[in-house]
């Protein structure tokens, strides 16, 4: 038997190849067309959903507008409460710090002057007893310096004089 004999003509072979090619491209086109159609329909569905949500939003806004005065009051209160909290938490508490300093000074001293600013509080005090100053320096001020809530940076004695009784000016510096 001769294997070289081919009963299918070249023309028929080509026709078969063309048919396969046509089928493959037709399937490809069909897939792309179906996918495109599906995506368009899904997109339209999403757009309809978006439009429905937009309508719901408009309707909710209209309902809220009906509560106009109460809404305004609540919004104003909320805003003011936030601002009040902010102010209270950030106030420098100058009077509290001054009061804490004065509380450590024994009653034997007279407070002649106080000057309090954000980062420094100066107290001018006097006493006729030198021993009272010893107690102040060695015990009271050391105790005050250990109080971390005060956030003290340093304490300086800017002058100590005697005019009638003893006069001392103390400056308390704070970390701000």
């Amino acid at each position: 038997m001769n294997n070289d004999i081919n009963l299918i003509t070249q023309r028929e072979q080509r026709r078969g190849m063309y048919s396969k090619m046509f089928l493959a491209t037709a399937i490809l086109f069909g897939v792309f067309f179906t996918l495109a159609l599906g995506l368009i329909l899904y997109s339209l569905f999403l757009k309809a959903r978006e439009a429905s949500l937009s309508e719901d939003i408009v309707s909710a806004r209209t309902r809220i507008a009906g509560y106009g005065e109460v809404k305004q009051k609540i919004l104003i209160v909320t805003e003011r409460v936030d601002s009040a909290r902010n102010i209270i938490s950030k106030r420098n508490s100058l009077e509290t710090r001054t009061s804490q300093i004065l509380a450590t000074i024994p009653d034997i001293f007279s407070i002649n002057a106080i000057k309090a600013e954000n980062d420094v509080i100066t107290v001018e005090l006097g006493s006729s007893s030198l021993l009272a100053f010893d107690d102040l320096f060695e015990t009271r001020l050391l105790g005050l310096a250990k109080d971390e809530s005060l956030n003290l940076k340093r304490i300086e004695s800017s002058s100590f004089t005697r005019s009638g009784n003893y006069q001392l000016i103390l400056a308390f510096y704070f970390n701000i």
Binding site: T25, F29, F32, E50, A60, R85, S99
Partner: protein
């Protein structure tokens, strides 16, 4: 020429249809499918955003439905006492007098820098570091006892309108206080545009109770 074209057509006519289908497929892929993916992604994002907005609005409606007008009005009164809507000299004087009387001191005089009287926006000079407008007041207070002067400052801290002592200068029985009183104008245009209404938290409620105590 025509004949040549006819010959080419006859030779390749079986390839033309598959080629057309391929070109159409490519057209659909690039002109329809890819833009649709992008459009769907955008629409999904818009839907999510609108859904969240609707949820916020629904929650706002619930808050408004359950809010009692009387209770809200009371909260509004307390909050505007704490932060007046304008530079209210009467309220400032009231706070200084109240602090003086409860600390056994005497309010000798006070002066304030009014600044801007009218304007749709608060002048930058009037705005504090906290971001809330303020009025600077200098008050002169006297007392036989220096500690009472400090007590005056402490009382002022728990008196409405809210204030902050910037400087204390006490010599003998006379104290000079530099005080910032806070206020907050109401921008009704801005308020009416807002639709998000959230209920007061427990912390807000506690603060309002504290402010109500300070008011007394």
């Amino acid at each position: 020429m025509k004949r040549e074209l006819f010959q080419i057509y006859t030779k390749y006519k079986k390839q033309i249809l598959p080629l057309t289908l391929i070109l159409l497929s490519l057209f659909i892929a690039f002109r329809v499918i890819l833009p649709q993916f992008s459009s769907i992604s955008q629409t999904n994002a818009a839907i999510e955003s609108k859904r969240q907005e609707l949820e916020t609005l629904s929650n706002s409606i619930k808050v408004l439905e359950t809010a009692s007008d009387d209770a809200v009005s009371e909260d509004l009164t307390i909050s505007t006492d704490a932060l007046p809507t304008s530079k209210d000299v009467t309220k400032i004087f009231g706070a200084l007098s109240s602090a003086a009387s409860t600390s056994n001191t005497e309010l000798n005089e006070f002066s304030l820098k009014i600044g801007g009287v009218f304007g749709k926006e608060v002048s930058p000079a009037d705005t504090s570091a906290i971001g809330v407008p303020q009025v600077s007041v200098v008050a002169k207070v006297s007392s036989s006892d220096t500690s009472n002067l400090i007590q005056f400052a402490k009382r002022l801290d728990t008196t409405l309108p809210l204030s902050e002592i910037k400087q204390i200068d006490a010599v003998g029985n006379l104290g000079t206080f530099e005080i910032n009183f806070y206020y907050k104008p109401i921008d009704l245009n801005l308020v009416s545009k807002k639709d998000k209404v959230v209920p007061l938290t427990q912390a807000d409620r506690n603060l309002l109770n504290q402010l109500a105590e300070w008011k007394q």
